[in-house]
Structures are given as structure tokens and as C-alpha cells.
Amino acid sequence: MNKTVNQKAWLFVLPVFILVAFNAVIPLMTVVNYSVQETFGDNTFFWSGVLWFTEILQSERFHDSLGRQMIFTFSILAIEVPLGVAIALTMPRKGAWVPVCLVLMALPLLIPWNVVGAMWNIFALPDIGLLGYGLNAMGFDYNFTRQIGDAWFTLILMDVWHWTSLVVLLAYAGLVSIPDAYYQAAKIDGAGAFAIFRYIQLPKMKRVLTIAVLLRFMDSFMVYTEAVVLTGGGPGNSTTLLSIDLVKIALGQFDLGPAAAMSIIYFLIILALSWVFYTLMMRNEES
């Protein structure tokens, strides 16, 4: 049989094609273009091959900021996911307190990122901030602008405060969608609170938790505004995360080639790790 060839069908694909080209392919290709060339900013380019990539991948500076990025991301994931689930479990599932809890939980998410950074910066200042002054008054030697440990503590605390709510709301959505009958069936079987959590609530929350972990992973890997407003990457370079480093190279030093190469490596790391997370969490899951 002859296939009917209908060239007009391309017209239906065209709008999507143009849209994707403009919002993804062309910007990405610009970066790729920069990453293999040397430029002095006067619109003259020299081919440099994979020079920038090897340079970045071998540079101690990149290793350090990637390492800090990993520590930051895995710390906040290790805190925010269990904490978010725990808070969601304690929230009421019906009654007048439900909207109150939901609004309280949503509040941190509504605050602009640079405001969060500024807020925590002032809050944690050792001389005038409530947190900083309070800790010092209690006898702790706390100064996040001078001491590396204190800077990390404040950075992670701020992120936990800002983003745990997202995990809470997602986990809560998963919890309320479990029909009462599941709890009754577990009760009839004589299941305790832990068994109910392990065999009913956790499996039923699996999908939303996967989303929560992926979102938190990607967002924390790209975190910039709050961190830069809070610590500016300091003291020294001790809290310079990948995104902060990238901005320093691209806009501070105006090294467009290495910055472009770094962007691509950065993007590929996020893509690869997201894929690993997703595959691990969705393992054994039916289609």
C-alpha cells in the first residue's frame, strides 16, 4: 500500500519548533559557541577547541566549588526531606486548623529570594541581628561573616527555613490523598504507627516525594540569590557555590569561554544527577 504523504502536516509542528528553538536551542547553542572559542570582547573569535573544558575540569577552583555545591545540596536534602515528611505527618488532615497550617507553611515560599537573603543576613548579624546577638548572648562565639562553620550553619539554616515548606506541602498532598480505608485496613491487621508509615504512607507518598527531591535537588544546585545576598560567597571562598563561582568568572572576570564551558559542565551534572535520582526512586515502579 502507498503511504499518503501530506507535507502540510509540517505546519502543525512548526510553531512548537520555532518556540523550542528560541527558548532552548538557540541560547544553548550560543553558550556552546562561546565554549569552544576565545574572544576578547571586540567580536573577534579564535577557535580553541576543548581547551576551556580541559582547563575547567582540571582546575582546583572548579573542584572546590563543585565540592562545596555537593556538600550544600546533600546537606539540605538530608535535612529538608525527612523534616518535611515529619511536619506533614503531624499536620491535621481535617478541621479548622488545615487552612491555618497550609498558609503558615506557604509563607516562606512567597518571599522573594533576595529578600530572604537580606532578612537572614540582618537576622544573623552578631551585633544587631536577633539570631546572631542571641547566640552570642548565650555564650556561643557566633559570627557568620568571619567563621566558616558559622557561615555554613547560617546558609543551610536559611535554606531549610525557606524550602522545607515545599517538601511539606508536597508530602501533605500525598498524605491527604490516601483514603481512610487504608488506615482502617491497617488497624484491622493490627499495624502500629511505624508499620502504617512504612507500608502505607511512604509508598503512597513515593511519587510526590520523588518530585520533591528532584525539585529541591535542582533548585539547590542552582541556588544563587539567597546565598550571594547572605554571605557573598565568603568568608573567603568558603561558601562560593557553583553558581556564584560561575557568575564571578563570567561577569567578574569576563572570561566568557571558560564560563561557557563551565555552564555546559554544570548543566550536564544537573541533568545526570537528576536522571540518577529519578531512576533510583522510580526503580520497581510500574509504568
Binding site: A185, I188, E286
Partner: protein, 360 residues
Amino acid sequence: MTLELRQIEKTLGTDVHIHPTDLVLEAGGFNILLGTTLSGKTTLMQLMAGLDRPTGGTLHFNGKDVTGMRVQNRNVSMVYQQFINYPNFTVYENIASPLRVARMPDAEIKKRVGAMADLMRLSPMLDRKPAELSGGQQQRTALARALVKDSELVLLDEPLANLDFKLREELREELPKLFADRNCIVVYATTEPIEALLLGGSTATLHEGRVTQFGPTGDVYRNPKDVISAQVFSEPPMNTATVRKVGDRVDLGGIAYWPCPAVLSDKPDGDYQIGLRPHHVTPAANTPDGAQDGCVKISGEVLVTELSGSESTVHFKVGPEVWVSLAHGIHSFGVGEVADLQADLSRAFYFGADGALISS
């Protein structure tokens, strides 16, 4: 084996969910709770299981008071309208779960689960997760979980309601066989009168938190105690209207007259309620007075006609009431048309002002 409810009652604040109820349920045959949504079937079952505490009254199992005993300590199983299984357990582990809780040895568990899976035709799917099964298989897994542990009380809360038509019929046929040689009390909640009739056993009709009638299913259907029980146990709902007895004649709001039936003959003149099941109201016969013997012709404006293959359902106005006629064959009436129908008076129920059935 008996489960006895003595003046069991459940109120929540000022809301009465279950009015004081007396009920004695026996092993052998289904005990059916029949009522519309929110009539209290599920609440009553939860009280029977001990999932919920009654606010008044006592619950006795084989004569022993089990009120307030925790559900874990009673030998109860329950199957729900939703297909409730442990999502990350295989079918095998799901069926085995109640036995594991009871700390049964592995060899015995294997034997029992195998036998139960054969009975439920689940043997090929034992290694799958519930989400990989069809609805019917998921519900069979839930049933297997409920049956594998030899409970003394099995509560089935609309177990077939979420299944599609074919599977529902199939499983409904299997259910009585599954329980035939078991010594346990089976309680089955449903909203469908037809399901109650097909499953047999005993039926309790529920209406707004009250058991209005309880007895062998056939008896409850044929001899409703009052107008509410009759309406609950009729699908489409029973047609009712006020009739006036004047001397030896009965008057249906000026629409039709007929001679006073025997049951009303020694009753005083006045208003009564008539109840007629939809299949006793059929299109008028081809006789001079438009009705066969024992029937009376009734005409009314047609609101809607539904044709479902071999049956026709006609909704039409009878004075202030809307009646439904259910007849074999295709009888098409246009909307707004005045249809001539006949009511089989020999099948009519008469109820007094208090709603109670008037019987000879």
C-alpha cells in the same frame, strides 16, 4: 455464631449518625445492609467491627460483650469499595500479611496463600504488585486478604461498586460460593436492591441512620413494613401518591378511581398512601377502558423516556408526583405528550398516615 447489636447508637455533636439500633446477625448467608449513600451503612459496619466506638448501646459476639474491644483483638476482616492493598507488597505478600501479623509459620502461610490464590484465580499474579493488576484482580486480592485468616466477622462495604459491569456480575456470582462452607458472619453493604435480591440471605433496609426493617431478603422485598422500607428496596424508586378512600371507592387525586381493595375495606374514610413498583406500571392495554383486569388506566404528561435495549422507562406526572413506568419492549413517548398507562392494582401497597403498611 451471632453478632448482636443492642441499642447501638452513634452521635457526633448534635448529628445523629445511627439511631438506637437492635439487630441480631447470624452466620450462614449474607446479612445485607441496603440503603442509599449516607444512610449509615458504613458507620454501622465500623461500629460492628470495633473501628469506631458507639456513643450508646452494647455489642455482643456469641453472647460475649465486645463493646469497645479494639479491632486488632477481634477476629474481623473488611473489604472496601476502594481496592485496598499494600501498594509495595506483591499479591502473595498482601494475602500473607494478616497471617504474618498472627505469626504463623512460613510453611503454613505458603499453603494457605496458595489455596486462597487458587480459589480466587490469582495464582498467576502472585509476584505482581497491586498496581499492575486489573480492578477485578485487585479486589480479589483484597477479598483473599480478608478470607485467608478465618475471621469470625467479614464486613464487605460495597465491594463491587467500583468494578465495571461485567466483573461485578462475575464476582457477585462467586461471592456466595466463597462463603458457602465458612463459619463466619458476613455483612454486605450495598446501595442496589438488585444486588440484595441476587445475594439472598437477610436484608436490613437503612434510611437516615435507622434500620427500618430486617428479615429474610425475599420477605423484606415482598412485604415492606412501611413506605420508607419499600422505597429503599426498589429500583427505580417505588411510585407513591396520596389516595383518598371515600366509601367503597378509592380516588387518586381525581386522576383515577377504583373500587376499594380488601385491605382498606374495614378502614375509615380518609387519606392513605399507595405504593406501586415501576414494573407494575405499564403502557395501557388495548381494551375499551385502556386497562387489563385488576388494573386501572392512568394518564400523565411525559417528562422523559429512557430506552435501554429491551426495556423502556417512562417518567410521567401523576398530580404533584412523578411516577416511573418500567416495561418490556420499546415504548417511545415524546416529551410533553400525555401517555396512557395502566397500574396493576393487585400489586399495590397501601400505607397509613404514619407510613406503616396496611395488610389484611
